[in-house]
């Protein structure tokens, strides 16, 4: 997938879904320390990583994102008990779907960030940007395919 010639100039677009309780607070913490990180991540605040519908992730790729990050509370710390377990199950399922469309695993990353882990937040964002630069632009954006969306809507029960 990589396209070495243009990589130096390529700036990946990344959408991050951050749960308000831990990950978003971790991003705020990174902000308070005022140490810069790459500007490629745009953040969508969600109540909990369990709110991240697989369709949201597919929609990001359909609309031209090069990467998606789901950031959650650490296992056991989800404010709503187990939303992050569901997020993990859904991310694993998404990776399988994405693979079928030739979208690399590194483009859909799940990370646990606590409210104190501003440093970790900065590191994973920086790391993701570097990885995606290496991977290059998403070759083909996902088609706006109703079948695909339906498949994602029908994700397995996660009790």
């Amino acid at each position: 997938m990589s396209d070495d010639s243009s990589n130096a100039l390529f700036e990946p677009k990344i959408i991050g879904f951050l749960c308000i309780w831990c990950a978003y607070a971790g991003a705020d913490k990174a902000g308070s320390s005022q140490e810069p990180y790459p500007p490629n991540l745009q953040i969508i605040r969600v109540t909990c990583s369990g709110r991240v519908d697989p369709q949201f992730v597919l929609s990001c790729f359909q609309n031209g994102a090069d990467g998606v990050m789901i950031m959650a509370c650490h296992p056991g710390d989800c404010h709503y008990k187990e939303g992050n377990c569901r997020a993990l199950q859904r991310q694993r399922m998404l990776l399988r779907i994405l693979r079928q469309f030739g979208i690399e695993e590194q483009r859909c990353r799940l990370e646990y960030i606590s409210a104190n882990e501003g440093g970790k937040f900065r590191e994973v964002v920086t790391d993701t940007v570097e990885n995606l630069k290496k991977l290059g632009k998403l070759r083909h954006a996902l088609p706006l395919d109703p079948v695909l969306s339906a498949a994602a809507g029908n994700h397995p029960a996660s009790p």
């Binding site: 677009k13 959408i15 308000i20 978003y24 607070a25 991003a27 705020d28 990174a30 902000g31 308070s32 005022q34 140490e35 810069p36 990180y37 500007p39 745009q42 953040i43 969508i44 605040r45 969600v46 109540t47 909990c48 369990g50 709110r51 991240v52 519908d53 697989p54 369709q55 949201f56 929609s59 990001c60 609309n63 031209g64 994102a65 404010h79 709503y80 008990k81 187990e82 939303g83 569901r86 859904r90 900065r122 809507g153 029908n154 994700h155 029960a157 996660s158 009790p159």
Partner: protein
């Protein structure tokens, strides 16, 4: 649609890093031509006034505020919208300080990122709909289950604040476990004496009118939710009227039958039990064997004994706004500690049996005697019996070392020459006064402390004449059933699970149900008492007479005609907020219980659940806006 975008410069914190002019130009090309206003320090008093004034003038239909983190000021700005007569949920915030200005080195990149995030928020806010805080009439009466130290303190605090409380206790008397203890840590105080004033307050104190005590009673059904629980309590007949009884004990004196603890079939629970009114143990009574004895009824000088209810229980249907659960804990069954090899001594007692032996009102009147009838010359006290043991109970029970040390003091006052050995894995005496008793023991050098790793090692210990086990504290045998009735989760060990272990320890996952005391975690008396008070405070803050309950409108709602009846959402919701209507085969969210996590919204395969304030449409629009 008229949309107002407000940028805060935050002094120079933001404006220095982001070129507001470029932002203004870019925003000019957004659909509908939103207006953009810069208000410096928009969160300050002056900034808010300017913001509100302009909102009143411009009357935008939706508002975006780009400033600091919504974690700091979303509530502030929502409030401003309300003041300006705009529905507060028509606001979307963009965090351009923590997430852009403070972390982006290039001004150009920061400006671009700001434009992108504003576009996302702009697209999202257009789909936001006004949400209204709903209100609900509530009952402010409170049910307290369990009349140990935690439940008593909770009931008294609530009663003092004017609430009506029903205190349900399954045994015939109140006070809980400490009623068995002669001398407690940290200062060898008699706990029955210590608790007596509080118990008297429940029965006869200034606020006792507010408390209805139901002894020999258990909760058998709980329906409804916060503010409106419908509870069924089943109560066994006591056969002695609490108001009529003069505590003379005549009934017990004449009763020919014995119950298993050696007292009469009709008798006081103990010499110090409160309410100090006898009860009839039906199993022990001759009437249960078909005889027609009624000598107790005939000889009661106050006419307080009534045998008419024999064999009957009564069911009470009651209504409450909140429930405090204070049913205490249990002890790990010593029989499961096999391999202990204490066969050398037949005199093995668990902690409660030994408490009973130490008790002046116990069967031996406080004398320490072995089964053979003589005073033991040597006693082993085994700490951590089952605790801190991967084969049994992994956690430390937290209280055993402290009462074990109190045991030693009590033994030494009665049997000064007794050789005592403490076998312990760890020796834990937290609390500002708790090491005093331990230090005293060590200074006097009259007892021996030995550490062990595996409880099986104790098979090799020198023979002793009596063994006292400090069993692990485990969940009460009643916890599982009660939790299931209330649909409240237990934690991995079987204790009532807290909403948040550190910050919301006295709340359960079900709103309006507050687990406190040893049913939540093993603990000492002062902690249990404090938790009882804490739960009372939470109830008082949440349910107020004459005040309707406000329901946060950011919650989920099932669109009935799309619901296919798969029940997935019911299993997914961590707060049991979704009920299933079996008749119509549709799920329904109870807005009161929903905390708006969104788990059901993303789990529903039929896309039948709308997350008010964070719907799929809104988030999808935000995604498209960000990536345009």
């Amino acid at each position: 649609m008229k949309i107002g975008i407000y940028l805060c410069g935050c002094g120079s914190m933001i404006s220095e890093k982001i070129c507001f002019e470029d932002v203004r130009e870019a925003v000019g090309s957004f659909p509908d031509q939103p207006y953009l206003t810069v208000v410096d320090f928009i969160c300050s008093g002056e900034g808010r006034t300017a913001f509100i004034e302009e909102l009143k003038r411009e009357r935008p239909e939706r508002v975006v505020v780009a400033a600091c983190s919504p974690r700091d000021h979303e509530a502030t700005f929502r409030h401003c919208l309300s003041e300006a007569g705009i529905n507060p949920y028509l606001l979307q915030m963009v965090n351009i300080r923590e997430q852009i200005a403070w972390v982006t080195s290039s001004r150009k990149e920061a400006t671009q990122k700001t434009i992108g995030m504003l576009r996302g928020a702009f697209y999202r806010v257009r789909l936001q709909v006004p949400l209204d805080v709903m209100t609900l009439e509530v009952c402010t009466d409170v049910l307290v289950i369990g009349a140990g130290p935690a439940g008593i303190k909770s009931a008294l605090t609530l009663a003092e604040a004017g609430r009506r409380v029903t205190l349900v206790e399954r045994t015939p008397s109140i006070g809980g476990l400490p009623m068995l203890f002669e001398e407690t840590f940290p200062n060898l105080e008699c706990s029955a004496c210590m608790l007596e004033p509080a118990m008297m307050d429940v029965l006869h104190g200034e606020h006792s009118k507010q408390i209805e005590l139901l002894t020999l009673a258990e909760v058998v059904e709980v329906k409804g939710s916060y503010g409106n629980f419908q509870v069924t309590v089943r109560q066994q007949a006591r056969h002695v009227s609490q108001s009529g009884c003069i505590s003379c004990g005549q009934c017990a004196a004449v009763c020919p039958a014995l119950r298993s603890d050696g007292r009469k079939a009709i008798d006081f629970a103990s010499d110090v039990s409160l309410p100090h009114v006898p009860f009839l143990d039906e199993k022990a009574c001759l009437r249960s064997k078909g005889e027609s004895c009624q000598i107790c009824q005939d000889s009661c000088p106050a006419g307080a004994v009534a045998l008419g209810q024999f064999g009957l229980t009564q069911s009470l249907e009651l209504q409450f706004g909140a429930i405090v659960v204070a049913i205490g804990a249990g002890l790990y069954d010593a029989a499961r500690l096999n391999g202990l090899g204490i066969a050398t001594s037949s005199d093995v007692y668990d902690a409660l049996q030994f408490q009973q032996m130490l008790s002046l009102i116990g069967p031996s009147a406080g004398e320490i005697v072995s089964k053979g009838g003589q005073a033991p010359a040597s006693i082993a006290i085994v700490h951590c019996a089952g605790s801190l043991d991967q084969e049994h109970i992994a956690y430390c029970s937290g209280i055993c070392c402290r009462y074990a040390i109190a045991f030693s003091h009590q033994i030494l006052t009665r049997l000064p020459d007794c050789r005592i050995t403490h076998y312990h894995r760890e020796l834990v005496t937290p609390g500002k006064h708790s090491s005093e008793l331990l230090n005293k023991l060590k200074e006097e050098g009259r007892v021996e402390f030995r550490r062990y790793e595996n409880i099986r090692e104790l098979a090799l210990m020198p023979a002793v004449e009596m063994v006292v086990l400090c069993n692990a504290v485990v969940p009460s045998d009643a916890a599982g059933q009660l939790a299931a009735l209330m649909d409240v989760p237990l934690d991995g060990d079987g204790f009532f699970q807290e909403l948040h272990g550190q910050l919301d320890a006295c709340q359960s996952f079900v709103k309006g149900i507050y687990p406190v005391g040893a049913c939540r975690e093993p603990m000492d008396i002062p902690t249990a008492v404090n938790e009882g008070t804490a739960a009372a405070a939470l109830v008082l803050a949440g349910l107020r007479p004459g005040r309707k309950l406000e329901i946060e409108p950011v919650h989920a709602e099932v669109e009935a005609d799309r619901c296919s009846g798969c029940r997935l959402c019911v299993t997914v919701c961590p707060y049991r907020a979704i009920a299933f209507d079996d008749e119509n085969k549709k799920a329904m969210v109870n807005a009161l219980l929903c905390r708006g996590c969104g788990a059901c919204v993303s789990a529903c395969p039929a896309a039948a659940i709308r997350g008010h304030g964070y719907s799929d449409h809104q988030i999808m629009a935000e995604i498209r806006g960000l990536l345009k």
